[in-house]
Symmetry: D2
Subunit: 283 residues, 4 copies
């Protein structure tokens, strides 16, 4: 037969779980969406319909709920490690296991000037992410991340001196709005970390670099943000940033006899620039 | 001809505008999506294709940008009033004008412990809304609102004593999670209000009532929230709340030999309960 | 207490149901999303937390599944009538009941040149809708509709002779693209109709009028579409059309030394014109 | 400095273009969304803010419109090849160029029993995709694909004989619904192909295999679909299929005294199984 199975995988995505931790009458919430993906050959599954090596994805879902209850864990990265270890112990025939978690964060409501014990509001659009990868050859990586963190800077951003060709009409500017919906993902090199503390530290460094940078381009600022993380967080050895450029175009008000001195902008969803880079700690 | 034009309207939706206010080197952002809708008969427009009474929706869009620059305004409700007045002055043949604004709020980033002058992050999923309605008979209403404010309470919520029929399988509970994505819209009766202050006051009252209420049902808490606004904000005379019930179902862990004492929940998007009510100041 | 409950309602939305009808080895699919909404005062429910008159929305969901199995029905309108009648029989204290159904249609796959007995693909983006409203005073309306039917005409469309003011920059045109995502909803006056046949007839008339009309504006074509339905379908006495104008803007290629004779367009999602009208059979 | 730029890229996404081809009074539509991504090192861009090697993404957008007009092309794959060649000719310092196109297909409306010359409706939810990749070392690949093609089979599908562990509760079945939203992507090995003909051939083979297969699992059917393409289309040498399992769960009607013999199902969006594989022509 002239056909070869090159790569295959299967799993369960979109497993929604909320865990309420109760410390007396003070509650805490973990709100996660979990995805599990097994990789491997699974040749007879595909060619013969032989399911004897297939753990049903319905079982994966059940496992998430049972493991969440059975084990003690606090951070999404820890939960992902426990899940990956559990699945590998019972499925040694699997080549790789990937656990991807999206955490939807909640802020405690402030009522009467004090944090409320049991009421919360969703904290922003941003999603905290955690990723664990294990393979049969012993490799294990733990990554943290953030997705859809929407930020803007209204000063210290320009774009000049770029290449021009016959189709270039863009005007140079020393003062533009720079808005993006940041997705970042970084790899932890250390062990036994407090992932909550590390995550907050990385997020803070990214925002500081974004706010303070004298930006000559999205690429320029992206690099400064990534560099700041690598230089300041010893336990992170690689970070990938994806920065869509959410263009804010200055509206031409001249036809109406009005100046527009960087005051009125139209926001466009499409098209959008898309800038990505991976920065790594040098050996 | 046996056909009658019963009602008609037209306008422009999805007009995206960002205004950057500059106070020295300290900036502020207003980020709005504006919709304009004219109502009236427009009979010959429809039947004859006579466009002589049609202000193009493209002109409406231009007007939003020009008016934003030409006039001084701070709150979205004020901007909507200016727009409605402008359009009515030039289009007296129109029966009604509705301006609906969604405001996407930004929080100032905290950098080095201090609020940054020119960098911001999007504040949550919630949208602040403003609505102005004017009609040829002189009526004018100004409404404020909030949409998609996602909140949860993990205590003080039950659902018991309801009707049962042959298709009822739900179990009574004195302790459930109560989560919703609140949409609220309220009518201002006063004039010359500080809409920013009023909006914050209403939002605060809604969240307080939500957090503190001993809830016997979504309806019960909805009413307490609405009542608190009417009783405490003299300038609001009517409020409508829409509370989808984002069900958090307790996962049955017995098949796995585990207790689940209100700890592990699965969140479902569909189906969802939908509870609505309008509460008004009595004469 | 100075507060009055003005209006209230509750129900269940997003009830997903697929029914497979089997005629020997030939199958048919009905794929519906059902929403149920009860209206009324429900005063003590809101003010006292007295649930004794509240049929749980969970029961509404169960009822949809049980009724779908227990009764014989073919069209979504029939199913909605059965549901409304069932709920009214058991809940005479309710003021109004509204059933809204979205039908996701499937096309039978053609395999080897013949329609397959048991395999289907989703038919387009468009949704067929059905709406039944019943009130305690005996009123009952049945409506059909279509949502999100995306259509375009590349000829026979212009926009000229419109109002101008100081903010008008739009150019008149006799030849533009006219694209929309049509939502229509019509009321049936007859009884004992074959709703499937009527729905197809209305949809066909709407598309014919859209394709053939010499359009002077969206309003002009909207009216022609509505008029055609009222004039040709005796069992429909009112129709509401909502036509967002999905603007296709001619790209200016002059900076690159190129003509653009109505050939290359950019599609924009925002902002968009929004045109609505209700047309009724005259007495 | 201990930091290294590992990988970087930039480009423009979401470039919307509609081309109307006019053959007398008969029109045709191409409706595309184009994304362009340059890969390479761009070291000084990131570290120094030196933009002298950066072609603005705004220029990329302009280029799409100008090239669409200047060159003759019919299929999206051809357009992508022209774009990639154009950009490489002018930007030899770039390492890789990727062009990804989504095509939104339109069906000609049938009016009065005949295909209309100038009116169309959007054809389904499915998206046709085209992908061209070029690198500085001379590599060039052309891929076609389809995304979001929603299909269901109501017979010839079971799932039995799978692994079980302590968390398995799923019941075996010989008769289930099998629904998916197929994404496929295949690589063309030939040159000078008629991509329109090839695309239709692959799509037809995928649907035939899906409809006719005696499915023991999603994996089993996925492989049969991929195998059919490789065996029957000489110009395709690799295909990747991604099949989310859109679970249709049999509703338990026993509490209401009703049988449910594979007739009434509830559709769930979350969680969902996710099955992927790449199948390649063996050497």
């Amino acid at each position: 037969m002239p056909v070869r199975l090159e790569r295959s995988g299967y799993g369960k995505s979109g497993i929604r779980i909320v865990k309420v931790a109760r410390d007396g009458d003070r509650h805490d919430i973990k709100d996660l969406t979990v995805a599990i993906q097994f990789g491997g050959e699974f040749l007879r599954v595909h060619t013969e319909g032989d399911n004897s090596t297939v753990l049903p994805t319905d079982t994966m879902k059940n496992t998430v709920y049972a493991i969440a209850r059975r084990y003690s864990w606090d951070q999404a990265e820890e939960f992902a490690v426990i899940l990956a270890d559990h699945f590998f112990a019972d499925n040694p025939h699997v080549g790789t296991i990937r656990i991807d978690i999206e955490e939807h964060r909640w802020d405690r409501l402030t009522i009467g000037g004090k944090p409320h014990r049991t009421a919360f509001s969703r904290a922003g659009r941003e999603i905290r992410t955690a990723h664990v990868f294990r393979s049969a050859d012993g490799q294990r990586t733990v990554e943290g991340g953030v997705a859809d963190l929407v930020i803007i800077k209204t000063a210290q951003s320009g774009f000049e001196g770029y290449m021009r060709d016959r189709y270039t009409t863009l005007r140079e500017t020393r003062d533009r709005l720079f808005a993006t919906s940041m997705t970042a993902r970084w790899r932890y090199s250390g062990k036994g970390l407090d992932y909550g503390v590390s995550w907050e530290a990385v997020r803070k460094l990214l925002l500081e670099a974004f706010a303070e940078h004298e930006s000559r381009s999205v690429q320029h600022t992206l690099y400064a943000m990534a560099e700041s993380v690598i230089e300041n967080v010893a336990d992170v050895d690689e970070i990938t940033l994806t920065l869509p450029n959410r263009h804010h175009l200055l509206v031409d008000l001249k036809p109406f006899g009005l100046e527009n001195d960087n005051e009125i902008f139209v926001v466009t969803e499409e098209p959008f620039g898309l800038i990505e880079a991976t920065v790594r700690r040098a050996e």
